[in-house]
């Protein structure tokens, strides 16, 4: 990638690391401590899903698209179902919209907590990781109670949702929300007051508002830089027109801001879930969608926990799609982070990369570090992470 023949630090990530479970490959050019160039090489998780959708029918595609990512599986299926419903010109019943939103917000909570734990681990704060994941089990239990599975809930069908929410489940959810609210407030306090934590996050990895806007950053990464981009607010879908949410932003644009925005979003999701449960409409769970979808093309966007999820769906009038393009939120976030890595310290790289809440399987780690001195080394992600931790001791 670099034109001048320099020596490299090769840092393979991921496959052997319990916390960052996803393989990928980054190349950093460094001059001493400072990063002078960065690029990414993904693809270890590339499974050829877009191609596969063309040889499966619309219903089968819901199942394969759900499995693009285990962490945000519901939003993928929802974006696809929404797009197909637009093409077929059907409107799904209000109860279905409400349930879709309910699950989406529960998923957002689980995803943000998962990320917070992993990010804490990356910074060396293992106790925090354990605490957060223990509390995350509350959400996992609720999702399992509602859908039958902890991951890959498969709640969506074309035309609505698959299952209903009963009264006793609603009571359980409320109890869970109370517990989560209390814990999330506690974590919000920690990330904004603990000195060691702030040492690794305050003023690190700053992305200013203009850059975030032009480079196309999305989701909490963009909002932490003050860019008010939230598909739930801009393009209210599912139940958001009835129960709007707010775009939570922060102006600092640093790592601390990214933690704060996500924790506050958890609290906002709790509020939204409570409101939806208070006003759950009666009615059917789904409407029929024809087997052959009329010709046409749509763009369907939803707000995944990581940011805007973009689906372009084209139908040729048959029972299999002509084209399904999935642009996941982590891809533009990679782009913006890589463009801005220049000037930062190598020791900050693990936290900065984790700060955008990367989802490789959504995109499909290795880290190559190119040094302008003569020093070929092979590091593991664990070593890079330890390097970061030691640097700040």
């Amino acid at each position: 990638m670099t034109t001048n023949k320099t020596n490299k630090f090769t840092v393979p990530i991921g496959p052997q690391h319990p916390a960052l479970k996803e393989p990928g490959h980054f190349e950093f050019t460094v001059d001493g401590e400072i990063v002078t160039g960065a690029t990414a090489r993904l693809g270890y998780v590339h499974r050829g899903i877009e191609k596969a959708t063309e040889s499966r029918n619309w219903i089968q595609d819901v199942y394969i698209l759900e499995r693009i990512c285990g962490i945000c599986s519901h939003v993928h299926a929802m974006a696809f179902a929404q797009g197909v419903e637009m093409l077929a010109n059907v409107e799904i019943p209000p109860r279905a919209r409400a349930i879709r939103t309910l699950i989406a917000e529960l998923e957002r909570i689980h995803s943000h907590m998962l990320w917070a734990g992993v990010a804490a681990h990356e910074g060396g704060f293992d106790t925090l990781f354990m605490y957060i994941w223990r509390d995350r089990e509350t959400v996992m239990e609720l999702l399992e109670m509602l859908t039958g599975n902890r991951v890959n809930y498969s709640a969506n069908v074309l035309g609505g949702v698959k299952f209903d929410v009963q009264q006793d489940q609603i009571d359980e959810i409320r109890k869970g929300m109370d517990k989560l609210e209390e814990r999330s407030r506690y974590y919000l306090e920690i990330v904004t007051t603990d000195e060691t934590f702030l040492g690794r996050t305050r003023s690190i990895g700053i992305m200013d508002k203009k850059d975030a806007a032009v480079l196309g950053a999305v989701g909490p990464t963009a909002r932490a830089s003050g860019v008010e981009r939230d598909v739930r607010v801009d393009v209210p879908y599912a139940y958001y027109p009835d129960f709007p949410t707010v775009s939570i932003t922060d102006n600092a644009g640093d790592l601390e801001a990214r933690f704060v925005v996500r924790m506050k979003e958890v609290l906002e999701s709790v509020r939204l879930i409570r409101e939806i449960l208070d006003h759950l409409p009666e009615g059917d769970l789904a409407v029929r969608v024809p087997r052959r979808i009329p010709e046409g093309q749509v763009i369907s966007r939803v707000e995944a926990p990581r940011g805007e999820l973009f689906y372009y769906i084209e139908s040729n009038g048959t029972d299999t799609p002509e084209r399904v393009k999935v642009r996941t939120p982590t891809l533009p976030n990679w782009g913006s982070v890589l463009a801005l890595a220049v000037g930062h310290k190598l020791a900050d790289m693990p936290m900065i990369l984790v700060g955008i809440d990367p989802c490789f399987s959504c995109n499909d780690r290795m880290v190559h570090i190119t040094n302008n001195k003569n020093n070929d080394q092979v590091w593991s992600w664990e070593q890079l992470r330890q390097y970061g931790i030691e640097y700040y001791k």
């Binding site: 993904l42 032009v214 801009d234 046409g296 084209e314 891809l331 990679w334 782009g335 499909d364």
Partner: protein, 162 residues
Amino acid sequence: MNTTEALAKAETLLGSVTVSSDRPQENRLDIDIKTEDLQKSIQILIDNEWGYLSAIVGVDRPDKPADGEEITADTNGKVEILYPFCEGNAIVTLRLSVPYDNPVVDTICTIIPSATLYEREMIEMYGIEIKGTPDTNKLLLPDDWPEGQYPLRKSFKGLGQS
């Protein structure tokens, strides 16, 4: 600025490069542009702070084969490339097409540096040549993927089969 106003503004801004336009959905404006006007069109949107580039989408458009015949690597056709920009609810999509026998388009990385990842995907999946793009390494496919095999083209049926 609401959706209608946003779309109207974009329509005016892009008037000089519009070959034809379409409204596939209420909140969407599709503008067909000439391949050589790509950088100019993108610059117009960026200079006027209209939206952000949300993705680069490729759609394979091979010529329809004669009855009973399959699409093969020798079939002629073109690849349509879409550049959707989002401003709130409004989406403006720049559309252009490049033929198989001259699949060349300019880079937009000089204007939007983060587009490099999208462009790398276009190169490996559709066989597009993007002039001036800073990085042509594979993004998603393995390094030893055979030349000339473009998975998202309709003629590709799996390695060793098309």
